[in-house]
């Protein structure tokens, strides 16, 4: 179970403190908004307050005349060079995708769309003048509800003739990976168990801490764009593909980037408009958004209705799973956009041995902010659904939720295992992770406390939630992406430059924004080349320095980019070998490389790789037929995904008088393969957990019936704080991945994917006794309280202490629907 690392490592596996920290803790940072250039102009956007409206005219004269204003532009003024915000993933050949101009000319399709831009000498002057732009809107009917969108009664884009973007299916019978789902359902209806549920994945806002900012300098031979992005390479491609600017004339730099979580992988209207304005005026331009602008215009995440049918034998052995999703893309097909629900297709079956499976998603447009990847992208939705369903099945069969999982999961000796969705899981050990998690959690003791509270009618009830999740990481094998109609590959690149004075420059195409690549990459290279950790410099996030890359998202950097790095390092050693042999006057075949030294077998003769680098730099003495360079590049295209998994256990207290919930304990044991830096891994897990917990408890992007984002600031979009969260217990089991030589699986999204169902399962577990089997997310106190009440379990609070919480075990079971709070507080 525990991997034995047989390489002579010193760095990999060590909790190195991060190289990145020094500048970040002292404020010596390079956020995009810090950049000041000579003569730089500032942009302010004029945004639509309406969800759907025709632009009849825009009066800019007054704004143009305001002090220090240089220009006011509308879509017409930049129409020739503004480009298009494209989608990279039309999930079917016939997908309908409305044109998405950075600044529309005729019609806005969601509140917050940009209709004009003011350019001034200061940010304050730009903002002042933006107030003076007068837009004549003609309001159009807006479709704001996902289910309403399916009826096509109101169209988000009248020209498309429908709100439906595309339908996509994965069917185990058709794909030859399993049986017929309809047969499984028919069989279960006769003599088995059928669990039918509809779950809601509410709309979320990534809420990275650094608001987006873009600076464009058009004054050089190349146009330089600094921007707060996760994906400088993808962005450069999108600009070149749609604006007429040759790719070789564009340099995109992602300096220090303050978080992304998927929210900064977009190529945005704001970036395109800043570029267009800078090119028109020939002056450096900066646009930095306010938080309110981020909330309404940066893409949102999730937003699905999930209709689910799980079938099982009477004893709880699962026989089939049918998934029917409705996905809200918002107003436009974003970069990954329609592909996000598709990313869940292989994960609903999770770690369980379903004989039959079918996944369907139908994607719709509405007049709301566009939707794209948010931490986990497609996989949290899948994990939520299946892990909630497994608890429902356990309740139906009348066994412990862990028991029903164990009955159905893939056993550790069954790997590699090809699932009903056609994925081959290379490694894993669900038994080991679960056993460890139970031990750390004190599972039996907490179950006993839960029973005590139930029996004594304690106003505060305890619930225990389980999530035995898996995910697919390391996006992605390029051929797989190609077969899915995705517009790019999933490879990653690395370069290693062996400098003459003994230090090493590492260039990675993965673009970090908080993940600690500089540290982890240094550790890998230090081990591989036998050079000191501090001698390695990691360069990234600039298309001129790191010309090739696919950037950072989908827990891919280490799994794909790390392997590219290993291969580049191995190439360096291979290139250095003949030069070392030449210098040592030995045969290449007699050389060994270890801990940074080439040695001649059976002798004490040797030379360090740094000395080889210096000798190669001087190039006075090297063998014939060999180039005087030991630098190397590698591009790695994975052949499979990696499949981290883990067991998460959560205890929640529910105050039945108010519906308030409180997290009591959270334990997770994750198997993410081999670990390069345990400190960084822990940090990724903690942060991921809170984002997933926040979906369960606190966050939700809510619109009113006018299409205004009501939770449009941090006052109403309730992010948790230190005072709302707890310290976690985390541990690991290790089954190395076989898809890369480091044996790593990826950890960036694990916590987020796993924790949401663990929390909701815990709350439902606490109140199931009252006839409740679901509570809409976020599980606000009001929703929890109303669920308990509609489940028939509680009384008005006007009771004496003696009367409180007289919730008998025998409370009549309710119609499952009665426990849900669908429609409450919408």
């Amino acid at each position: 179970m525990t991997a034995v690392d047989d390489r002579p490592t010193t760095e990999i596996g060590t909790a190195r403190r991060r190289k990145e920290d020094r500048r970040l803790v002292t404020g010596r940072t390079r956020w995009t908004d810090n950049i000041q250039l000579p003569g730089m102009l500032h942009l302010a956007m004029v945004r639509s307050p309406f969800a759907h409206a025709k632009i009849n005219g825009i009066e800019t004269a007054e704004a143009k005349g305001a002090p220090n204003v240089i220009a006011v532009m509308t879509g017409h003024d930049i129409a020739d060079i503004q480009g298009v915000n494209i989608t990279a993933w039309p999930i079917t050949p016939d997908q309908k995708s409305p044109d998405h101009l950075p600044m529309p000319l005729e019609r806005v399709a969601h509140a917050g769309e940009i209709v004009a831009v003011v350019v001034a000498r200061t940010a304050a002057a730009a903002r002042d003048a933006a107030e003076l732009v007068d837009v004549d809107y003609e309001e159009l009917p807006a479709v704001l509800d996902l289910k309403a969108a399916t009826t096509d009664e109101v169209l988000a884009h009248p020209d498309l003739g429908t709100n439906k973007s595309a339908f996509w299916q994965l069917d185990s019978k058709a794909g030859g990976t399993g049986g017929d789902i309809e047969e499984a359902i028919a069989r279960a209806r006769e003599g088995g168990i059928v669990i039918e549920r509809e779950y809601r994945q509410q709309r979320l806002i990534p809420a990275f801490m650094e608001p987006r900012s873009t600076v464009v300098d058009p004054t050089g031979e190349q146009v330089v764009m600094w921007t707060a992005t996760q994906a400088p390479h993808v962005l450069r491609f999108c600009i070149a593909a749609t604006t007429g600017l040759p790719e070789s004339k564009i340099r995109v730099i992602a300096p220090d980037v303050g978080g992304g979580f998927g929210g900064k992988l977009q190529s945005t209207p704001e970036e395109f408009i800043t570029l267009a304005v800078a090119r028109k005026l020939g002056k450096p331009c900066k646009y930095t958004e306010t938080r309110s602008e981020t909330m309404v215009s940066a893409h949102h995440g999730r937003d699905q209705w999930q209709k689910l049918t799980l079938t099982a034998e009477k004893d709880g052995t699962v026989t089939g799973l049918k998934v029917e999703l409705l996905a809200d893309l918002g107003a436009y097909a974003a970069l990954v956009g329609g592909g996000v629900p598709v990313l869940g297709a292989w994960m609903f079956n999770a770690i369980y041995k379903f004989p039959a499976y079918q996944f369907n998603t139908t994607n719709y447009y509405t007049n709301k902010t566009w939707v794209d990847a948010y931490r986990g992208a497609g996989r949290p939705e899948a994990t939520y659904a299946i892990e909630r369903l497994m608890d429902e099945l356990a309740a139906e069969v009348g066994v412990d939720p862990l028991e029903i999982r164990e009955k159905n999961w893939i056993k550790h000796d069954e790997f590699p295992f090809t699932t009903v969705a056609g994925m081959t899981y290379d490694s894993g050990n669900y038994e080991a992770a679960t056993a460890r998690a139970k031990e750390l959690f004190g599972y039996d003791e907490l179950r006993a406390e839960q029973k005590r509270r139930r029996e004594s009618g304690d106003p505060v009830q305890l619930g225990i939630g389980v999530s035995t999740f898996t995910e697919m990481c390391g996006l992605a094998p390029s051929r797989v992406l190609g077969s899915l109609n995705y517009g790019a590959g999933g490879w990653e690149s690395a370069s290693i430059r062996m400098l003459a004075t003994g230090t090493v420059e590492v260039v990675t195409g993965a673009s970090a924004h908080g993940q600690g690549h500089e540290t982890a990459w240094s550790q890998i290279v230090a081990d591989r080349l036998g050079v000191p950790f501090d001698s390695v410099e990691v360069l990234h996030g600039d298309t001129q320095i790191a010309p090739k890359g696919m950037d950072t998202y989908g827990s891919r950097s280490l799994v794909v980019g790390g392997e590219a790095l290993v291969r580049a390092a191995d190439k360096v050693i291979e290139k250095a070998k003949p030069i070392a042999a030449h210098l040592l006057e030995a045969s290449v075949d007699d050389l060994e490389f270890s801990a940074g030294q080439f040695t001649v077998k059976g002798t004490d003769k040797g030379i360090g790789i740094g000395d080889v680098a210096l000798a190669t730099f001087a190039a006075h003495n090297y063998p014939e037929g060999v180039e005087p360079s030991i630098d190397a590049d590698a591009t790695f295209d994975p052949v499979n995904f990696s499949f981290p998994h883990g067991t998460h256990l959560c205890a929640m207290e529910v105050d039945t008088e108010t519906g308030a919930t409180r997290m009591r304990k959270y334990v997770c044991v994750d198997d993410i393969g081999n670990i390069i830096n345990p400190l960084i891994v822990e940090g990724q897990v903690h942060g991921g957990l809170v984002q997933g917990i926040a979906q369960a408890l606190w966050e939700g992007a809510e619109y009113d019936d006018q299409g205004t984002l009501v939770s449009g600031s941090f006052v109403d979009y309730t992010l948790p704080t230190t005072a709302d969260t707890i310290s976690f217990v985390t541990d690991h089991t290790t089954s190395p991945a076989t898809s890369n030589s480091l044996g790593t699986k990826g950890v960036g999204e694990a916590g987020t994917i796993a924790s949401t169902p663990a929390v909701v399962n815990a709350i439902v577990d606490a109140v199931r006794q009252f006839g409740v089997d679901d509570i809409l997310m976020p599980c606000t106190p009001e929703r929890v309280w109303k669920a308990i009440r509609s489940g028939g379990g509680t009384q008005d609070a006007a009771t004496t202490p003696a009367q409180q919480a007289h919730f008998d075990e025998g409370t009549p079971n309710q119609d499952p629907a009665a426990g849900t709070t669908d429609g409450v507080v919408q």
Binding site: R17, R18, E20, D21, R22, L24, V25, T26, G27, R28, T29, W31, D33, N34, A124, A207, F208, M209, E210, P211, D256, V257, G258, G259, F261, T290, R291, S292, H513, G514, Q515, G516, L679, I680, E682, G683, Q684, H686, G687, G688, L689, V690, Q691, S713, F714, V715, L719, T721, T722, A723, T725, S727, F728, G751
Partner: protein, 158 residues
């Protein structure tokens, strides 16, 4: 325009500013202290936290003119002679930052917290840091770092 004189990280600055200029914009755009950042527009996130006359404030919620004649300490004024402040060191040592955007505000608030309460419990740390949002760390290591810094100063006092 109003003329103000403000001491920032030990140096005195005199400038003509518009009364509407926020202290955070004055620090970033006029004085050049870009270590202090803006994360929201509702004073919820705390990323812009600095010390004004020794107490933590959200510098987006103070006008530059209100700081006239007063003393401001930013994240850039915390380290002395290249030596990290114990709180900065604790954040580094305990991996209490990832993207680092909230970090200046977090550290400034954490320093203020320990100034008020040198030996806080975990709960007191969690309450004392409630005005600062972080999206990366899940707060676990931030709380740990503040506790560690408290412990370190306690040890050095002893």
């Amino acid at each position: 325009m109003t003329r103000i004189t403000v001491t920032v990280d030990g140096a005195s600055y005199t400038d003509e500013v518009e009364p509407r200029m926020l202290l955070v914009h004055y620090l970033r755009e006029v004085v050049g202290k870009v270590g202090t950042v803006v994360g929201c527009d509702t004073s919820n996130c705390g990323a812009c936290t600095v010390h004004l006359d020794g107490r933590s404030v959200k510098s987006c919620n103070v006008l530059a003119v209100q700081a006239d004649g007063r003393e401001v300490t930013t994240i850039e004024g915390l380290a002395t002679n290249g030596e990290l402040h114990p709180m900065q060191a604790a954040f580094h040592e305990n991996h209490a930052l990832q993207c680092g955007y909230c970090t200046p505000g977090m550290i400034m608030q954490a320093v203020d917290l320990l100034n008020e309460n040198p030996n806080p419990t975990e709960d007191e740390i969690r309450q004392g840091m409630e005005g600062n949002l972080c999206r990366c760390t899940g707060y676990h290591n931030i709380v740990k770092a503040v506790a560690a810094a408290a412990g370190a100063s306690e040890r050095s006092d002893a």
